[in-house]
Symmetry: C2
Subunit: 351 residues, 2 copies
């Protein structure tokens, strides 16, 4: 963890930018003391913030721009009109070798469009995907695609599996990740044609991990597999359904502890343990979605996060950078294309 890696930061994306970005960079330095930053944004606003953190200031290069991509800009507009924006310049820095990765809390669609245009997709990958990790009963798992591609064919899903596998190895530290295709459980209808085809392809492919077949919605939280592979429509719905349910439970629990005097006293006694639970499911811990499949590390932070959450998004970029995620994806795809063509669709057992 002592290598020097430079990360480009879009200082102007997110609800509390640039303050949350600068403080997040400061917090990230505690875990990665030798990290360097290229920070893109409004210099006049950033300088007083950086002055509070002399070590960070020393480790950072500020690149001034007064152009920003707005939260409601259309990706096509951000791409055409935003050539001087903090988001675009931060992506350019990765293309130009100034930084290994970029972190932005700005507009997701714009970041995907700009990153794809500037960095291009890796060889063998048709479409980049959005991947993120989350808590499960067994530990942590990763799911992709979370919304970049509404419609996916079998080849897209196979590519997502390969990229998710690398995410699990580099960010979650799983040596030989298990993978599953998200599907419905009823016997008569095992999902779309693309899923059955992808399943056959994955079984026939020599992946650095184990493909366990189809998994269902409840397998996500169970952690049945390390990598849950799905199209962007389904993944987005599943992720947000899970987030909504987590909030519902937190709210129900809050109401429960306020419902009687005894419950309030019980809460006070259990508070340290409950704070541990809160930390365990804290969305800020899981902040940092990767735009995988690009020629560079691109991490999207939640727009509404704080410095702690933004520091974790930087951490995801660093984990991928330090473990050579991009090289691993390239290697895996080189290996994939070298493998024999897929056998005719075999009978696939349900999960």
């Amino acid at each position: 963890m002592t290598e020097t890696v430079a990360i480009a930061l879009d200082a102007m994306g997110g609800d509390n930018a640039p303050g949350m970005v600068i403080k997040g960079a400061h917090l990230a330095r505690k875990r990665f003391p030798r990290i360097r930053f290229h920070i893109f944004g409004d210099e006049a606003r950033m300088r007083p913030l950086l002055a509070k953190y002399p070590k960070l200031n020393h480790a950072s290069t500020v690149h001034h721009t007064d152009q920003v991509v707005k939260a409601d800009d259309k990706p096509s507009v951000a791409l055409r009109a935003g050539r001087g924006s903090s988001m675009r310049l931060a992506c350019d820095a990765v293309r130009d070798g100034l930084a290994t990765g970029v972190v932005s809390a700005g507009n997701t669609g714009a970041l995907m469009a700009i990153a794809k245009f500037v960095l291009k997709t890796l060889p063998g990958i048709d479409r980049p995907a959005i991947a993120s990790f989350f808590p499960t009963i067994r530990g942590e798992s990763v799911m992709l695609d979370l919304g970049a591609n509404v419609e996916c064919d079998a080849d897209n899903l196979v590519q997502f599996a390969v990229m998710g596998n690398v995410f699990a190895r580099t960010v979650l530290g799983v040596l030989r990740p298990t993978m599953g295709l998200l599907n419905v459980g009823s016997e008569e209808m095992k999902g779309h044609e693309a899923l059955r085809e992808a399943s056959a392809l994955l079984r026939a492919t020599n992946l650095p991990g184990e493909f366990l077949g189809f998994v269902e919605g409840d397998d996500i939280a169970k952690g049945t597999v390390d990598v849950v592979v799905t199209d962007g429509f389904t993944g987005n719905i599943a992720l947000k359904s899970i987030e909504g349910t987590a909030k519902l439970y937190s709210e129900f629990l809050r109401q429960t502890f306020r419902s009687s005097i005894l419950a309030k006293v019980g809460y006070l006694l259990a508070r340290p343990a409950l704070n541990g639970l809160r930390s365990r499911v804290d969305p800020r811990r899981y902040n940092g979605a990767i735009l995988v499949g690009l020629n560079g590390i691109v991490v999207k932070s939640h727009g509404g996060t704080d410095a702690f959450g933004f520091a974790n998004a930087i951490g995801v970029a660093m984990d991928m950078a330090l473990h050579g995620a991009i090289e691993k994806i390239k290697d895996d795809f080189a290996h994939l294309t070298a493998s024999p063509p897929a056998a005719p669709a075999a009978q696939v057992a349900g999960a």
Copy 2:
């Protein structure tokens, strides 16, 4: 609530049949004292169970069969070979006017195939759907389809909206339900073509309720709308993702209260309140998925539920029966077809 309604029970479906079915019927009589049952199954096994509940015994007619649909029977096999099965005979009882509705905890696919064959779909409905209700921050909502139809076109989705609307009015008691189409949130890609088309159709249709446009995964638990409309693939994944997350939180909470002496004492003090929470999110309270769109009330209970859960599934059938759900669906469709043809696809705002 004093009308006499007869419900047909498949006594042999589910993990703990027939004991859980008979005891469930007994419990259901507490809420519906004038309910009558036609119970289909192995008479030799049911008689001793019924003898324990003299009032239930008096209100029930037992129809013996030793044939059952097994949990792993393919729907096509159950349909062809299961003509004398308890599930089939219970559905026949609804067709023959002996009962207003049927409740089974057996094989979902088989129940759908048999019920569709025996009862036929209602006029105006191409495909039946599976609907169920669940807790939200605002109260309760219904979602459909939960897995009967993997691929759906715009017409299917519109029909689901109409049927879900009736479910909300009859089972949840909402006078003028709000409806939303489940979609992804990103600006650039507002889901599949079928969703955009269904949205335009729903806006142009004079529904007994309010169509609010697209909703996202987190809107399910928020209760943003009373009726969440989606295809069977997405609905199944969303429902199971939610169930899995609920279990994850329960498990994390259990671990939290065991993690220290203080937490244990806190738990004991807060226990009555926490039991209230447990009851609030008890899956048995939300047991009973409806197979909507058929010429009769068909309720599917979870196979693994107990008597309390099965009684709630009977309650769902009774709520629909007592409030004339089938007639309401027929009326709404008659009204729909009388409305002017849909206007050309209007611009649809995201949720």
